[in-house]
């Protein structure tokens, strides 16, 4: 009985760790975009350049001339993550999500997460860019990094 309880507790802990605030957009980096002809997926972690910007993880998906379905998939994931999030900037154009900057404050100062999204289609561009960042960087640091690029 005692052993059973311990096992249940361990299982619950493992489930809590694995489910620790997984974002919907994270699943996009493991899905079909990896093999899409019009997609460019980047995954970088632990480089000096990232450390200089107080980041530990950088991931991005760039879609060239995306299909309506691909854009919808991206928007769905972002809207799901943005739900109930107070620290966010979202801009819509022609009924489409044009720009999003989502900040997920970590449980401790080292696991802040950011989702940055751009859909150029409403402005006659042909790219959709999704960036996921992780690390201790504060929102102003990330914005500064975007501006100083």
């Amino acid at each position: 009985m005692k052993r059973g309880l311990i096992i249940i507790i361990v299982m619950m802990m493992a489930a809590m760790i694995s489910a620790k605030g997984r974002l919907s957009v994270e699943s996009l980096f493991k899905g079909r975009f990896l093999s899409d002809k019009n997609a460019r997926v980047t995954m970088v972690s632990g480089t000096e350049q990232l450390r200089q910007n107080y980041l530990s993880d950088y991931r991005s998906i760039t879609l060239q001339k995306p299909s309506a379905e691909q854009v919808e998939d991206m928007e769905k994931a972002i809207n799901a993550d943005a739900k109930n999030l107070s620290d966010r900037e979202m801009s819509y154009k022609d009924g489409q999500l044009y720009y999003a900057f989502l900040f997920f404050d970590g449980d401790d100062e080292y696991d802040n997460r950011y989702v940055i999204y751009l859909n150029q289609l409403p402005r006659k561009g042909n790219k959709v860019v999704l960036i996921y960042l992780e690390g201790p960087a504060l929102p102003q640091t990330v914005k500064k990094m975007l501006k100083n690029d």
Binding site: M1, R3, G4, I7, I8, V10, M11, A14, A15, I17, S18, K30, F33, L34, S35, D36, K37, N38, A39, R40, V41, T42, M43, V44, S45, G46, T47, Q49, D57, Y58, R59, S60, T62, E89, S91, Y98, Y99, F101, I116, L118, Q120, R123, K127, V129, I131, K143, M145, L146, K147, D149
Partner: protein
């Protein structure tokens, strides 16, 4: 079965026991006698207490065999498997799982070329920067419209 000893034998043996003169066989015999006798003299009662205590202390402890119900056994195995699988999955999903810490898929083709990846990052960030500027301009423009309306 008749006793082959008398009350006198018990007293003698008890006395020898307390003097530390008894052999193992005699101690065993004394235990049997004490168990059977109805004597209640102080030395006999004392011997019963002492020998009873040692008999208890030296007796092998028979642990109750733990029988785990089959359901619990299956659940335990399933739980352990679940833990192992989830830990493996978590490790596999972790960005650090890849040997290279720079990885990109371009049109479905995998590359770890640092220069190529740095160029992609540079390009992606420049797109986002442009969009950030556009949004800032939009906000500024919206504020201007509101301010103009407010001032009229």
């Amino acid at each position: 079965m008749m006793n082959r000893y008398t009350d006198h034998d018990i007293h003698v043996l008890t006395e020898r026991y307390f003097e530390g003169l008894t052999s193992l066989e005699e101690e065993a015999a004394l235990r049997r006698m004490l168990a059977e006798t109805r004597e209640t003299s102080p030395d006999i009662l004392e011997a019963k207490a002492v020998l009873g205590f040692f008999a208890m202390a030296s007796a092998p402890v028979r642990r109750k065999k733990r029988i785990m119900p089959a359901v619990w056994r299956v659940a335990s195995v399933a739980a352990m498997l679940a833990i192992v699988v989830s830990l493996g999955w978590m490790l596999h999903q972790s960005p650090g799982y890849e040997r290279s810490n720079m990885l990109a898929y371009i049109g479905g083709v995998r590359t770890t070329d640092a220069d190529v990846i740095e160029d992609i990052i540079f390009e992606d960030l420049s797109y986002v920067r442009e969009a950030g500027d556009v949004v800032s301009e939009d906000i500024y423009s919206d504020f201007n419209i509101i301010t103009e309306e407010f001032n009229d």
